[in-house]
Symmetry: C2
Subunit: 266 residues, 2 copies
């Protein structure tokens, strides 16, 4: 099974394109809604939350986990990979695929939560691939609350977005990484303000394409993945609320998600 892990609902924007590109596999989505959002937490806590999620997904028979959450990918992925990438098990993130795609540009903007921008890993990864690139980062902490509230089409949301993007616009960037799973919902506004010349990189889309390629190059991982086309949803908060939100996002009916407790018994 392929596990998709997110701090809440955001990772559904990654699950959707991944299921479209690779429909045959079995997927388990875990949303840690009880502790959402991770973005305002300390790095230390985020690492602990991610360890608990990974161990829980492995205990459910998952062998390959995608960290759909940008905050988790930026802050904890390297730590998690060092600890858990062994015995045929694998944890991947959305950061590298997006950085690879963006690194084709010269002046690259990155937007994300405070924790994602503070971790600075997009810049590090882009520069590994393209040392000449200039990277401009901007935390946009109010966008997620507006989107969660369904108020992202209001003039106040667009005005806030412009304030956030002003410095990236002045820097004349050619590419912009939407480094948060919520932001694709405002993709049109990002495009409108940044202009047609700026290439927008959405993690979900590039992760799906790169994952397909990854599985071709790693048959030892691929052969472990079951392929019955099942989709299982797990949440640490209310099942009904999750079902409603997920069906709206994925535009498909799903079985009632299972409410799970991922905090370990110490």
């Amino acid at each position: 099974m392929i596990g998709i892990f997110d701090s809440g609902y955001g990772g559904l924007t990654v699950l959707k394109p991944v299921m479209e590109v690779l429909p045959d596999y079995d997927y388990v989505y875990l949303g840690d809604n009880a502790r959402y959002p991770y973005g305002s937490n300390s790095d230390e806590n985020i690492k602990v939350f991610c360890e608990q999620a990974v161990e829980y997904l492995f205990s459910r028979g998952v062998t390959l986990i995608i960290f759909a959450c940008n905050t988790a990918s930026s802050v904890a992925l390297r730590h998690i990979q060092q600890k858990y990438n062994k015995d045929g098990k694998k944890v991947l993130g959305v950061l590298i695929p997006a950085a690879e795609e963006a690194a084709k540009g010269k002046k690259i903007g990155v937007v994300g939560t405070k924790a994602t921008i503070r971790a600075n890993n997009y810049e590090v990864e882009v520069k590994k691939l393209n040392p000449e690139a200039k990277v401009y980062s901007k935390a946009c902490p109010l966008l997620v609350p507006f989107i969660e509230e369904g108020w992202h089409a209001k003039p106040e949301a667009k005005s806030i977005l412009k304030k956030y993007l002003r410095s990236l616009k002045s820097a004349n960037i050619d590419s912009l990484i939407l480094g948060c799973t919520h932001y694709p919902i405002m993709a049109r506004d990002f495009k409108r303000y940044m202009g047609k010349k700026v290439r927008i990189v959405e993690s979900g889309d590039v992760t799906a394409v790169k994952l397909k390629d990854y599985l071709k190059r790693h048959p030892e991982i691929e052969k472990q993945l079951s392929r019955e086309g099942t989709r299982t949803f797990l949440t640490t908060d209310d099942s009904n609320k999750f079902k409603e939100f997920a069906e709206q996002q994925l535009k498909m009916k799903i079985k009632l998600p299972e409410k799970v407790v991922i905090t370990p018994t110490l």
Copy 2:
């Protein structure tokens, strides 16, 4: 010791007036910053989080706990009181003091998080005291993110506030309960938009006055409280971040808060 419990920093706006009115007692403040905010969680989770916090504070020698968090008070307080108010221990909230004060009016507005407004307990308590009163409630979910971000003085925050308050303004309310510990930070904006005739009820201030009165009427509780004037701060997330924020809010120096884990070993 008196325990002040909040989902994060918000309860500092309650601790401050309480310490001013009753300076001699020993206080322990617990902020569950790791799982902040509670407002978007399900009632079931909020109850579990509150139980864990209460048991933790009792284990640290606290005998009287004030739920400073409006969400916790609205959703979980009755449940917590039924379970834990015994053996000389007591849990109180900010809801009743604010409802008592507001119930002097005739047309009463309540603003708070989604969970607080959904729980509808302000309306229930106000109507117990004043059955003739009309109560108008409005959830204002974007105010906390703006305040946390320090962007509450921006025009977008004020514009959002006006949208939230429009229905209360049309209803010609005479009193308004600020049913969230963050909102006093925008008290001036609430006052400006609602006009001078509307009495603004802030939970912190009324809780401090009512607590003093409560301790006079309940010597069996009061005599258990130690009075050495100590202040202890506990957080479930980063200690340094908490210290910085708390010192700014309380306008006093504090010892480095202790990072604690309140999730029980099941």
